[in-house]
């Protein structure tokens, strides 16, 4: 996988993960182009499209689009399920996740992604194992960080 982007229906970028070296300018250009292309597609259309020399695999969950760029020989369907597994992980961790969880806890979204995918490849596909790793880290922070109390979330999606 070359990169993964999460963006809202309004085209706001919520998470970006690049697995190939690109300049900031290039990243912004790609993001702009892709967000536009994907948002212009109608529901029911197929989840794959050719873009430059890459294949784009995307899926919409509620207000968020998850969009991955893979290479020619990569498998589209399994990438679609990578997206789904990531959504499941977020959902399990946050407890019915919504866009706001990802905005306010973007760092967690990155940490979970790093446990699941590394260098653009699936590192650990077991949901239990990924969440166990994150849980352990959370425990560590509570021991050493003195257990700051989390903000209550009043926001409704």
């Amino acid at each position: 996988m070359q990169f993964m982007l999460l963006f809202s229906r309004q085209g706001k970028l919520r998470l970006q993960k690049w697995y190939v070296p690109l300049s900031d300018k290039e990243k912004k250009k790609i993001t702009r182009e892709l967000v536009q292309t994907v948002l212009a597609r109608k529901p029911k259309m197929c989840s794959f499209l050719e873009w430059r020399d890459l294949k784009i695999v995307y899926k919409r969950y509620a207000s968020l689009y998850f969009c991955c760029a893979i290479e020619d020989q990569d498998n589209e369907l399994i990438t679609l399920e990578i997206i789904h597994r990531y959504v499941e992980l977020l959902d399990k961790y946050f407890g019915s996740v919504c866009e706001l969880d990802i905005i306010f806890n973007f760092e967690k979204a990155y940490f979970i992604l790093d446990e699941f995918l590394l260098g653009g490849e699936a590192q650990e596909t077991s949901k239990k194992n990924v969440l166990k790793a994150i849980e352990q880290a959370d425990l560590l922070q509570e021991v050493s960080g003195g257990g700051q109390i989390g903000l209550p979330f009043h926001f409704i999606c």
Binding site: L13, Q16, Y19, P21, K28, K44, M45, C46, F48, L49, E50, D53, Q73, N75, E76, L77, I78, L80, E81, H84, R85, Y93, F94, G95, I103, F104, N105, F106, E107, K108, F111, D114, L118, G119, E121, A122, Q123, E124, T125, S126, K127, K128, N129, L131, A133, E135, Q136, A137, D138, L140, Q141, E142, S144, G145, G147, Q148, I149, G150, L151, F153
Partner: protein
């Protein structure tokens, strides 16, 4: 998950994010961000030492601001400090910041690498994973240098935790992708391969990605992985859906690992060991069988995971291309998917079938689905699916179904999406040419193409039809008749006018017997389109007219009348005016014999690869080519050009228009294709003059490393150059010498760049030399050398010459002396991949030290001694001065005398400069 663990309590961060979200406008947001940035800056600069928590919070805010799309130019140091915190969350945020906002500042990289080193040796698996994630996320060369030898050790050590192994494997993969030369598996190879046997599925899942990548590069060293992969796959495929516990995904056992295993096997040919092969074929059959079983769940995740494995298995079957039974089964399975209600599956089935169509075993099986695919082309609602259908039709096309497929594609073109029209046109043109049995069908098809999608018919397509008509005398009469009819439509596309003008100009005589298409009728028809056409088409029509005068003497008076009218002979366009004047003159003074010779029918074009095919290859990349190659290998024959594809590659085809005008194949003298006007010189060739060739680029190349010399010479003229450069300014003296004994009249030189120059004397006496001075200023970096156009009359004939002036970017170098340590520090600073340009090339000239030194000094840089540890290598440094900026450049040239090769590396602060210098210099040694 307890709510408390969601946010780790950075209240200030949450408040800030809410503030940003509440901003009503972009301006308000920027204002809020600037306020925050000022606040953070003052906190970081303040006297009071910040505690870890505050530092973490501020670094996190900076990260958030960066992710919103704003630039961040500070805070890196604070983030690096966090790395060495002993509190996990602080360390974690530090690493996240570094991962997202890497900075190539060498001082920081050193500190970051230190922190990573500490964490890697901490034996705390959580810390080790964090450090490995950071390396994998950044993946820079510096990190590869520091850790590439350490990570394999961690990966295979017996006491490494599974989670650390997983991270280490993928971390190594990332480093291997960026710096393959630094990742040496050597002694570890066998132990890495055996990770495929690891008990922990997660370790296998991670390690196999690394093994696949390494196998692609070094298949022999890793080939033991094949049997291991087959047995692992076999165990997964035959396991019940509950056996693998959490690695089962919606009732599918280990889909990710299965796909990766099948992918790894695609790096190798079918296993030679019969038992292994038998086991693998069994696996593939099981996977195909499972596709027929009723689903274990209605969830789309279940079917996606299952089909992901199925498609990967089909890819492997196609890759082996040796099991007819499996290929046909795969094809039937895909055939079912063609009508599936899931759009995604239809898309993938079309895509995958495209490759199946290229196998001799399954080509026929694919063809049976033609009706379904045509239907998909007509009814799919998603353009990307229709595109796949069009690709598949193209791939399955052969002699037996070409007429049907071409007809369907043509009718689809009428409503096709704009985005894919051009490609469709190319494909139709190629299929029509390749499978034409009778040429009239071919001509009809292309004319239809122009009628339906004229705007998308590129030059290559209509050039090609003309080449073919000219080379095939059995189709010329039909072509003339058809194009004549097509032109009678009240509105026809300009491309039709071009084809019509050309073909009637050559072969109008073949239909002139019919009073309905008598010469005058033909002429009037063409001329009725004239005023609606663009200049190039009008120019083509004028040439058709003069050809008419030769073909049909009875049209001479009418045509001369047309040429003589003010709108032609005084046309503001030089090209049109020149053609009108010269054709008119030609038709009035030349005898019938001369006219017939000059305006003879075009000779056949040389046989060669269709330029359309080349264009499609360029457009589509390897996919389209593989299909074509298959067709060739099948020796379908029927190529109109008599095996043109097998002709020599014409890599250097200049412009196809030059071909059409016959200059390349039939020019009697060395005409200059650089100027369209020069073809007129051919017409007057009886006057006994020659036109000069455009400057050979070889001469020009000599000037990259020197400033004085002869730039151009032919039998008439010699041009010498002296030049000097200081900073971004230069002065060039040009000496034009008349080598003949006759005067050059109307001598003009026009530099096509913004230079200050005085015009030269219009007369150059025989044997005399005149001088011209150009003052040059470099405004910004550039790639294309300025051109100089020279025109003069020699014995009545106009000579037209365009030269590249030897002004290259390196002329504006200021040499920079520096020490070894300075050099390497700067070298590292210029470490972004696009700042570097590298070429490895064969030596074309002497590799003698003194010659090389002289060239490098001539380049304008400082040649630095005692910098490179290898005394054979050369390093240079300099600054390019342009008006707007200075571009620092470092150069390293590594000769390999044994291999007669060089490796040239440039790093410049501007990437376009690196690329250009690398191109220029690679030609010099």
């Amino acid at each position: 998950m307890p709510a408390v663990s969601k946010g780790d309590g950075m209240r200030g961060l949450a408040v800030f994010i809410s503030d940003i979200r509440n901003c009503k406008s972009k301006e308000a947001e920027i204002k809020r961000i600037n306020k925050e940035l000022a606040n953070i800056r003052s906190k970081f600069k303040g006297d009071k030492a910040l505690d870890g928590y505050s530092k973490k919070k501020y670094v996190c805010k900076l990260l958030f601001i960066f992710l919103l799309g704003h630039d961040i130019d500070f805070g890196h140091m604070e983030a690096v400090n966090l790395l060495s915190s002993n509190k996990y969350t602080e360390k974690q945020i530090g690493y996240l910041f570094i991962s997202v906002l890497v900075n190539s500042n060498s001082e920081l990289i050193r500190l970051i690498n230190n922190a990573i080193k500490n964490d890697l040796s901490s034996r705390n698996p959580t810390f080790m994973c964090l450090a490995l994630h950071c390396i994998a996320n950044v993946g820079s060369r510096e990190m590869a240098e520091a850790f590439a030898s350490e990570i394999p050790r961690i990966l295979v050590a017996g006491d490494t935790m599974d989670s650390v192994k997983q991270s280490a494997a993928l971390c190594l993969l990332r480093l291997y992708k960026t710096s393959p030369d630094l990742v040496l598996m050597g002694e570890w190879t066998s132990r890495v391969v055996h990770l495929l046997n690891d008990q922990h599925m997660g370790v296998v899942t991670a390690a196999i990605s690394l093994i696949t990548c390494l196998s692609q590069k070094n298949p022999d060293e890793f080939k033991t992985c094949v049997s291991l992969a087959v047995s692992r796959l076999s165990r997964i495929v035959s396991s019940a859906s509950t056996d693998l516990q959490d690695y089962t995904y919606y009732f599918v056992p280990a889909p990710w690992l299965s796909c990766k295993l099948l992918r790894l096997l695609q790096c190798y040919p079918p296993p030679e060991d019969g038992a292994v092969k038998g086991r693998l074929v069994e696996c593939l059959e099981t996977i195909l069988n499972k596709a027929q079983e009723p689903p274990k769940s209605k969830k789309v995740q279940h079917s996606n995971a299952k089909n992901a494995i199925l498609f990967e298995a089909i890819s492997l079957i196609i890759h082996y291309d040796s099991e007819p039974n499996l290929l046909v089964r795969a094809c039937n399975q895909l055939g079912q998917f063609l009508q599936h209600r899931e759009t995604n599956l239809r898309y993938l089935a079309l895509e995958s079938m495209c490759t199946l169509a290229s196998s001799e075993f399954s080509h026929e099986a694919v063809k049976t689905h033609i009706e379904t695919v045509i239907n998909a082309l007509k009814t799919e609602r998603d353009v990307s699916v229709r595109q796949r259908a069009a690709d598949l039709l193209y791939a399955m096309c052969d002699r037996s179904n070409a007429k049907q497929i071409v007809a369907e594609m043509l009718s689809y073109l009428e409503t096709a999406d704009y985005s894919i029209r051009e490609e469709m046109v190319l494909k139709v043109a190629i299929l029509a040419e390749k499978y034409a049995v009778d040429y009239s069908w071919y001509v009809d098809t292309i004319l239809n193409l122009i009628r339906i999608a004229g705007d998308y018919v590129s030059e290559e397509v209509w050039y090609r039809v003309i080449q073919i008509v000219i080379n095939r005398d059995d189709v010329q009469g039909y072509a003339a008749k058809t194009v004549f009819e097509a032109l009678q439509a009240p509105a026809c596309h300009e491309n039709m006018v071009k084809v019509g003008g050309y073909i009637l100009g050559e072969f109008g005589n073949l239909i002139a017997g019919d009073p309905r298409s008598s010469p005058l009728v033909q002429f009037n028809l063409l001329h009725s389109k004239f005023h609606l056409c663009s200049v190039p088409t009008r120019a083509l029509l004028l040439s058709a007219y003069i050809k008419f005068i030769n073909l049909f003497p009875e049209t001479k008076a009418t045509i001369q009348e047309v040429l003589r009218c003010d709108s032609q002979i005084r046309n503001s366009d030089v090209e049109l005016q020149q053609r009108a004047v010269e054709y008119l003159k030609l038709s009035s003074i030349a005898s019938t014999d001369v006219l017939a010779t000059v305006l003879e029918e075009m000779p056949p074009f040389p046989e060669r690869e269709s330029s359309i095919l080349a264009k499609l290859k360029k457009k589509k990349g390897p996919g389209a080519v593989s299909v074509t190659e298959l067709e060739d290998s099948k020796r379908e024959g029927g190529e109109l050009n008599g095996g043109g594809d097998r002709g020599p590659d014409t890599a250097s085809t200049p412009s196809p228009s030059a071909d059409l005008l016959g200059i390349r194949s039939a020019a009697p003298v060395g005409a200059a294709p650089a100027s369209a006007g020069s073809l007129l010189v051919d017409v007057f060739s009886e006057a006994g003059t020659t036109t000069t060739l455009p400057s050979s680029s070889l001469f020009w190349l000599l000037f990259v490393c020197k400033n004085n010399g002869v730039l151009f010479e032919n039998q008439l003229l010699q041009i010498g150059i002296k030049s000097e450069y200081r900073q971004n300014l230069g002065r060039m003296y040009l000496f034009y010498g008349n080598k003949t004994s006759v005067q050059f009249a109307s001598f003009t030189t026009t530099p096509q760049l913004n230079v200050q120059t005085k015009p030269v004397e219009p007369l150059v006496e025989g044997g005399a030399q005149i001088q011209q001075v150009l003052n040059i200023e470099c405004l910004t970096d550039f790639s294309d050398a300025p051109l100089l156009n020279i025109k003069f009359r020699y014995g009545g004939a106009l000579q037209n010459l365009t030269l590249k002036l030897p002004v290259t970017i390196n002329k504006f170098f200021q040499p920079t002396e520096m020490t070894s340590s300075d050099f390497f520090q700067r070298w590292k600073q210029l470490s972004q991949p696009q700042q570097e340009a590298q070429k490895i090339f064969k030596a074309n000239h002497s590799m003698d030290t003194e010659v090389l030194k002289a060239k490098l000094l001539g380049l304008g840089t400082a040649l630095l001694d005692n910098v490179d540890p290898n005394p054979e290598n050369y390093v240079c440094a300099g600054v390019i001065q342009t008006k707007g900026q200075q571009v620092g450049c470092l150069l390293r040239l590594e000769p390999n005398a044994q291999a007669q090769m060089y490796r040239l590396t440039l790093r410049c602060s501007k990437d376009s400069v690196s690329r250009r210098l690398c191109e220029l210099l690679a030609e010099q040694f």
